[in-house]
């Protein structure tokens, strides 16, 4: 039972409640299913129009220079995308001639370690405390052709926007792959 005082208290930066955690987890599982089923157009619908989708490269640095081990904005990245550029990439699959995914790979996106907090608008301009700042971990298994196997493990930091209709939308996503040299011949899926 919430009291009037609770409702007035700012939720900025606070851990979200159990229902919200459940909602976010289900949202991620549905998203993972769309990617594993190759339903990319439906996946695009989960992305906000002002999406920033970034997967920087990571380097081995001396411990005292560790702060620099993730490539900065504007440096080398595996993905540095807008919703428009992701749509462009996805159109490729419709050509029927995207050989790196024809025959298609089998993938399984496992999403875990979900931690949900309300956005602190002081840290994220343009967002409100109704929006959510979410950390999660992923393990993506890719099996391709006869015996090709890849495991992509890493973490994501998202800002999920609570749209006017109550649905969640991915507005920001930073993906940190736990690899230095990419241990795969290409990245043909999304995270």
């Amino acid at each position: 039972m919430s009291t009037p005082t609770d409702r007035l208290r700012s939720r900025a930066g606070e851990r979200a409640d159990r229902d919200t955690h459940f909602e976010v987890e289900q949202f991620y599982y549905e998203e993972a299913a769309l990617l594993d089923e190759g339903r990319y157009a439906d996946w695009l619908d989960l992305l906000a129009d002002d999406l920033d989708y970034w997967m920087p490269t990571r380097t081995n640095r001396l411990r005292r220079q560790q702060a620099l081990s993730v490539a900065a904005r504007g440096e080398a990245a595996f993905y540095d995308e807008t919703k428009e550029s992701l749509a462009w990439r996805i159109r490729r699959f419709d050509s029927g001639m995207a050989w790196a995914e024809d025959p298609p790979s089998r993938t399984r996106h496992l999403i875990t370690n979900v931690m949900v907090r309300h956005v602190d608008p002081a840290d994220h301009e343009g967002f409100t405390e109704n929006d959510l700042c979410v950390g999660s971990a992923f393990l993506v298994y890719r099996n391709r052709l006869e015996r090709e196997e890849n495991v992509f493990a890493g973490g994501r930091t998202d800002i999920l926007r609570k749209a006017a209709d109550g649905r969640l939308q991915i507005a920001r996503r930073t993906i940190l792959l736990d690899q230095n040299i990419l241990q795969a011949k290409n990245i043909s899926t999304f995270f």
């Binding site: 380097t59 220079q65 080398a76 990245a77 990439r89 050509s95 050989w99």
Partner: protein
Amino acid sequence: MTSTNEPQGAATAAPRGALRRPADLARNLDVSGLVDTEGGLLDRVIFTDQELYRQELRRVFAPSWLFLAHTDQFHKPGDFFTTYMGEDPVIVTLDRDRRIRAYLNSCRHRGARLCRADFGQTRNFTCTYHGWSFNLDGSLVSVPNKDGYPDDFEEGKWGLVEVPHVETYRGLVFGTWNPQPVPLRESLGDMAWYMDAMLDHDDEGTVVVGGVHKWVLEGNWKLAAEQFATDWYHVNMSHASALMLLAPAGKKPRDEVVHRTGRQYSDANGNGAGFPVHPRNRFDARTVHEWTDYDALRERLGEARVEGPLTNGHATVFPNFSYLPVNGSVRVWHPKGPDKMEVWAWTVVDKSMPEEVREAQRLYNLRTFGPSGIFEQDDGENWSEVQAISQGFITNGVPLNYQMGLGSEREDGRHPGRTSELYSDAAGRAFYGRWRELMNTPAWHEESKA
């Protein structure tokens, strides 16, 4: 800019002790019959055989100029970058005299990898095994428990093994273990004219976008190096999906894209560069296209270069450095055994580009080339599938075809050196011709033993 460094380290005899390898430790095979440049045939065993691979490291990689880095990666003394020459790990750094030098990344004591960071800034390199420490000039400056060594132990004899020659060409740093190499510029020959189409747009030269894309491929390094030298032919098929994306929405690629004409340069050093010839060739980001001052480029580089290698194409500097001029993508195919390579790719942009143009070029490059690029994804698939089946006994013995454009190489009066048609295997034949020549030629390290 040229700097020639005196060889030291292993090339210098230690005052105490001596080692000698048995002469038959490394057997050299005669590869004359594996490459037929006149008939345009290639034996697939050169992509699979472990002994041939070891011979490549000795005779192709060790004596050749190999790409190390871009000069823009070194601004202050102690800025360093670690990479490979063949399978040899090296540290490239700027010494106190602001000279780019390269050393074997292996401690002279017990051989541990000396530096385990990809790049950074340091005052010296200290081995984390026993603590031997080396200066930026490669000299050994600190040995824990030095008193335990014989009186005649001289630190001066145990400096890092230095790459004896490091030279740069328009921002690209190359090194070679060959103690008496043909100078870099001379070995590039006419190839430099084609490279300048990417590197010499104005007096300011090029800079690199931070970071290097690195990924693994299950394929022999020559598959990639050869393709970048000689293969526009694969573009329409392998990259059909990408070409569709670059066409206006809902339309097929224009005929002028599919039915291109152009030229392909090749030379006896194994270098190759192909490019469509067309006044409006450019494949790249609109922002970059609009910023580019084509009149100034025509003035500087001439019509033939602007309508050819500047606006599109592919190239390989033998053995394993390749680039795409329109994207500013430069890369090394590091050999990792006969069936594996590692791709290290940099994005190079004109220093004079304003921030937003540079950013447009960076984004365009990462979306088209690199491991997630709409073009490069499909290249990886081709090479790994060529490799995956090549161990079959019958498969391995079936020759590959490099006969397109046989005999078509000529001086065309517009582009330096000899060129063939855009769709041609001429540079592939030249690449493997050079490979065969080096594989059958004893390198300096063998001659000294004879």
